[in-house]
């Protein structure tokens, strides 16, 4: 394994760093406070061609590897968690299309996603199906040359703003996971509408929306992969998505650490900067060590994915570890800032609220431990 950056990666990251620092970071507080979708930021990502990184050139992308995507995503997330998650969520649509889509589906749906003309989303979660992913209640019934979807999805990231959705529905509820089937549904399809926008602890500018399917008829060619093979589609997608979610968490951790480090050097108590106290130094050392460790787990997961090797165990470890590091680092960053850290005058309280999300989405920490245990006990 060698994570030395090549010239192309260096060039790309230099550009992403510049844009992230100049455009995204200065607006992150405002975006979060207003809770408005950061359309300007997404427009910048489109202009930069960033949505096409992992999509092959034949489908309008740049045909680069997932490690490069991961490095880019880390930088965007560090500057603006919301923008990073919108960017990362797109992968939950492009990855299953690439892995399970047929040629016609790839040709139709990938180019606009690669160019950023449309955003992608993925929907499994329902009121009764979260950690118990097999318990999807949304039904899909085959009728001649179409499928009819009925049910409700909740918390769907990029909901309403996305144009292309991967929807997991159940064709045989009695069989639980074995009835799950994946479909491609386009925004505007009759019978497909949007409900509640969830009001959250943090990341208020990130769209998390209810999707409603009411007698929603889609053509049979929108079946992704095979009937009743949707559980596999979902699990593979989550495995890749965990790299993206983990890297989002890492971004928050890095941002919180930087702020805490800078502040500790400036803040004077007892006549000297608080960074000169061992108590603070140990906090900073733990933060930096956690970040560095999480980083290489996630890079390794991306690298394994690029080598077409099993990456699922490592991506779960990366997501679990990075999200818990993010929560610890953000909480400690508030501690370093003391009373100021608890105010909205500094961004560390925002990081703390944002970090919590990562321990929950894309499989809770408890589910990750279960996934990892399953792998290691089988080895």
């Amino acid at each position: 394994m060698d994570f030395t950056l090549n010239d192309d990666q260096k060039m790309i990251l230099e550009l992403v760093d510049e844009v992230s620092e100049k455009e995204f970071a200065p607006r992150a507080d405002e975006i979060s406070a207003k809770g408005e979708f950061p359309a300007e930021n997404i427009k910048k990502l489109v202009e930069l061609d960033l949505f096409g990184i992992t999509i092959p050139e034949e489908y309008g992308g740049l045909g680069m590897d997932y490690l490069t995507w991961t490095l880019v995503s880390e930088r965007i997330s560090r500057a603006c968690t919301t923008t990073g998650l919108i960017f990362g969520t797109n992968l939950l649509c492009t990855y299953p299309l690439l892995q399970f889509g047929n040629e016609e589906q790839k040709k139709k749906y990938l180019p606009p996603l690669a160019k950023g003309e449309t955003l992608g989303a993925f929907a499994l979660t329902e009121p009764e199906a979260g950690s118990d992913a097999g318990n999807v209640q949304t039904t899909a019934i085959k009728e001649k040359d179409s499928y009819v979807l009925d049910g409700t999805k909740i918390f769907i990231t990029n909901g309403e703003v996305a144009g292309t959705y991967i929807i997991i529905a159940n064709m045989d509820r009695a069989r639980g996971p074995r009835g799950l089937t994946a479909f491609i549904v386009e925004k505007g399809n009759p019978g497909f509408s949007f409900g509640q926008h969830f009001d959250k602890m943090g990341l208020s500018a990130l769209p998390n929306v209810e999707l409603i399917f009411d007698n929603c008829r889609i053509p049979s060619e929108n079946l992704l992969h095979k009937e009743k093979r949707g559980f596999r589609v979902a699990m593979r997608t989550f495995a890749a998505g965990r790299i993206g979610v983990g890297i989002g968490a890492l971004g928050v951790a890095e941002a919180a650490f930087e702020k805490a480090k800078e502040y500790s050097k400036e803040r004077v108590q007892f006549g000297r900067s608080i960074s000169s106290f061992q108590a603070i130094q140990h906090i900073l050392a733990d933060m930096a060590t956690g970040i560095e460790t999480a980083k290489y787990l996630l890079y390794r997961a991306a690298w394994l994915l690029d080598q077409n090797e099993p990456f699922e165990k490592i991506s779960s470890m990366g997501k679990l570890y990075a999200s818990e590091v993010a929560m610890k680092v953000a909480t400690k960053a508030v501690q370093v800032f003391g009373g100021y850290g608890y105010t909205k005058d500094y961004p560390v309280e925002r990081y703390m609220r944002e970090a919590k999300l990562f321990e929950i989405i894309e499989g809770t920490s408890e589910i990750q431990r279960g996934v990892i245990a399953n792998f290691i006990l089988k080895e």
Partner: protein, 263 residues
């Protein structure tokens, strides 16, 4: 529409602390200082690209400078210009604004027929604002300077020209030279696709051997200006504001003028 843009690579003033001047030659020591495209020139590139998007045609970017100025040109290729040419020759070294504008003008002629030349209003280090107008003089075409808004319709150019506390609307016809201010647009970032494409592109280097220049007009030989000394000027002292009754203020003002022997 054929558009030429002239750019200059300059030290990044955000890294001001690193910039040193060689006291022997009175020139900037460029080693170790990050370089950027002169910001106003980036606005000129952006304006050229926007005009091309509206009217079609092509954009050629020229820069005179040391071999490393190629990096600045490559960035404009990544932004989407069609062609970039570097004017670089040991004989061009030490050029003042007269010699620089001469060399650029000769190179512009060599690129063929053109409709519009765009430049930044001035560089952020030399600050002379003379090279753009100099090029227009050498080519004997009209010039519009300090432009914050530009419209091109057929052969007509209509522009808003920034004055100290207002602006004027000016018109001329193509071909002409326009220098632009920061307000004219927001330069785009290069795209990933642009970066990758630009990396592979050849940037020709033109020197004395392939430009029909008179040797005595280029570089230090062609430069009547010599820099005697570079220094940071003392900031001017604070002005005094007189207030009160007009007649009283006028008396005090006359008193001050007499005291300081201004008249």
């Amino acid at each position: 529409m054929r558009i030429i843009v002239c750019i200059k690579q300059v030290p990044d003033t955000e890294e001001l602390a690193k910039i040193k001047i060689n006291p022997a030659t009175n020139t900037l020591i460029r080693e170790g200082v990050p370089s950027i495209i002169n910001p106003f020139d980036e606005n000129a590139v952006e304006e050229a690209l926007r005009l091309r998007e509206k009217k079609g045609g092509e954009v050629t970017v020229l820069s005179m400078g040391p071999p490393q100025a190629e990096e600045a040109l490559r960035k404009t290729l990544a932004m989407g210009v069609d062609r970039a040419i570097l004017l670089s020759d040991k004989a061009f070294a030490g050029a003042d604004t007269l010699a620089t504008s001469y060399t650029l003008a000769i190179a512009i002629k060599k690129t063929g027929k053109f409709d519009l030349i765009l430049c930044g209003k001035q560089s952020i280090e030399g600050d002379t604002a003379q090279v753009g107008p100099g090029i227009a003089e050498w080519l004997n075409i009209p010039q519009l300077t300090y432009i914050r808004k530009l419209e091109v319709n057929d052969n007509k150019v209509r522009a808003e020209r920034v004055l100290e506390d207002s602006f004027e609307v000016v018109e001329t016809s193509l071909p002409c030279l326009v220098t632009v201010t920061k307000d004219i647009n927001e330069p785009r970032y290069p795209s990933l696709r642009g970066l990758i494409k630009a990396k592979k592109e050849e940037i020709p280097i033109w020197g004395c051997h392939n430009l029909s220049v008179e040797r005595k007009r280029v570089g230090a030989d062609g430069s009547p200006t010599q820099v005697i000394k570079i220094f940071t000027p003392q900031p001017p002292g604070k002005g005094e504001i007189l207030s009160g009754e007009i007649s009283e203020v006028a008396d005090r003002l006359i008193g001050e003028i007499k005291k300081r022997k201004i008249v």
